[in-house]
Amino acid sequence: MRLPRWGQLLVWLVFAGVVYLPAGQLIVEAVAGSRPDSAIDALFLTASQWSLLGRNVALAAGASLLAVLIGVPYALLCEKTDLPGRAFFSLAYLVPLLIPPYLHAIVWGRLLAQNGPVNQFLMDLLGLSSAPVDVHSPGGAVVVLALAYFPFVTLLTISGLKTLDASYEEAALMHRGTWRTVTRVTLPMIRPQIGAAALFVFVFAIIDFGVADVLRVQVYPVEIFIQFSALYDERSAIMLSLPLLLVTALAIALQVHSMRGRSYVSLEAGRGTTRWYRLGRAHGVAAASCGAILLLSVLVPVGALIDAAGPVQTYVKALDSSLEQILISFAMAVVAAVVMTGLSVAVSLALFSAERFGRIVAEYLSQLAFAIPPIVLGIGMIKLWNRPETGWLYGSALIVVLGYVAHFVPFTIRAVYSSLQQLNPSLLDAAALTKRSNILVGWRILLPLLRNGLLTAFFIGFVLSMGELGVTLLVIPPGTETIPIKIYNFMHYGAEQTVAALGLMLIAMQLLLAIALFGIGRWLGPRSR
């Protein structure tokens, strides 16, 4: 099923209008509105700004490396070994994604504060006069970001392992031991997936605002935010954002290049062909390692939030004061996820219908959107939509929904496009023989076949939107609050109990939706019939 040329053009126009227009117009205005020499001058950063950008790159690279060191062994243990509790560990690693990174930062900022329980314990134990651990540092931000984002690495690594041809490993095992086979054969074959995942985490970390702000670590996006929100210097903020945009665009381009022709999410492929390694005596150590990762990334954050929230009355009070914000956040995330999923189907079909060269360019364009830092996207949206004729949009919560879509749609496109790539084309060819209209074939045949991809896209869109902070901070209309914004505002007042209760409600809502979607997926799946 292919889209006609005019259909493809329409899809790309809508996509570009939603995703690229705000930032594109912003940059063009900033450059065109100044003398050519001053625009070029603005691109040359001061020594301190270079140092900040360098520090930001190092921080993101550190988070990415640590996420790989956590995520790849976890994926190998889950997918290639007889790990005890394998079914549990294969699902549980996704739970940290339900905890927004700034909640990780709040929890670790509390636990590892100078006078926090961990430092106090270590000081008593080792007889130290000062706190040995400082989470309010670039190193602290690296650890927090890695714990929040390692599931992306695990997800893509597992996806690569599922599509691996086991015969190469079998051949290697005839001559070499398990360790050398894994390190010399298995890992090199999934290098593109690991590289792509590392770049994903790198981009997430370099554009992150929430973790750096909570942990009070001075990073480049914070500098842009200061220029715009505190110093009211819009042009400096825009020009300052260009080098960051170049770095992130390069990372995304590399990532798309490394994954060309490969699937990001393996929905069904490769089952039954996996080569399993026996762990033998390492059973316990392997399970304990996976358990420790889940302990640090899920149980400690959730446990610390439960501890901070205190009695049940806190939840009642938080619900009482924030019910409207909870409903608004939920409604906005659902609408954004539906729009993202719909747009992703259209873009995926346009990608699928494009000619070879056009498809390569379009694939890059569909993913480069994520390179736009939220702070740049937010400023661009203010400039684009804050005018009398679009006041109805800018003054309502729909502007936030638009921000979510613009920021996160590359992810949902990946989920749907992967699903489309894994379809058996003969099914659609057979449907075409019925000479029914394309719309009917799409509705009756294509969408049911894409159900896993659609549910995955909806879930990704919902989760990312529910936790979004960077764009929302800039575009949210006065008088409207989302849960992340409320958490951000309450943090300032030291209202730890309410922050913890709201954080737990946010996680619970996402977990319930995940379970519901998982159930729907199984119910709609072929096995239940």
Partner: protein, 163 residues
């Protein structure tokens, strides 16, 4: 059938997204009584002065500990209040905007408060911000809350007249 149910679900969603969402309207229960935590800092100090001198001369301030429930009154600079610090505005600015005050000198003080309260990073936008912050922080005493109010009124009266 499915489409009809979806349409029914869509209506409340659109109402939520397009409708106005006034925050904390329930706060305005007691006239002239503003309830706030005992903790003082520059933004609250300036907000107290703004209320007393330019919004509600009959205003009274009732203080309570942060772990207690707020007494009846208009919440001021507490998490549940309408007039509080937001991610992009300080308490002083929310009062200034809400009452649509038009005064260049008041707006200038608002920019200093924004610089202290919202621009929490090292670099400040205005030259006098560190000085004002330092001077205001010297005014407060833990035991004498009414004395703190009086000191705030005196300090910002002087600052306002200097501008």
């Amino acid at each position: 059938m499915v489409q009809r149910h979806l349409a029914k679900l869509t209506v409340p969603f659109l109402f939520l997204l397009l409708g106005p969402h006034p925050v904390g309207a329930q706060d305005e229960r007691g006239e002239h009584i503003y309830v706030t935590w005992t903790l003082f800092e520059p933004d609250k100090c300036a907000a107290v002065w703004l209320i007393k001198r330019h919004i509600d001369p009959d205003a009274q301030f009732v203080f309570f500990e942060r772990d207690e429930s707020p007494p009846p009154g208009i919440g001021l600079d507490i998490p549940e209040a309408q007039f509080r610090r937001y991610h992009n505005r300080c308490t002083y600015e929310t009062l200034f905007d809400h009452h649509r005050l038009v005064d260049e000198r008041l707006a200038y003080i608002g920019r200093i408060m924004h610089d202290i309260e919202v621009n929490v990073w090292e670099r400040k936008a205005m030259e006098e911000t560190p000085r004002v912050e330092h001077e205001v922080m010297q005014l407060f005493s833990e035991d004498d809350l009414q004395g703190n109010v009086d000191a705030c009124l005196e300090y910002f009266d002087a600052l306002y007249s200097r501008l």
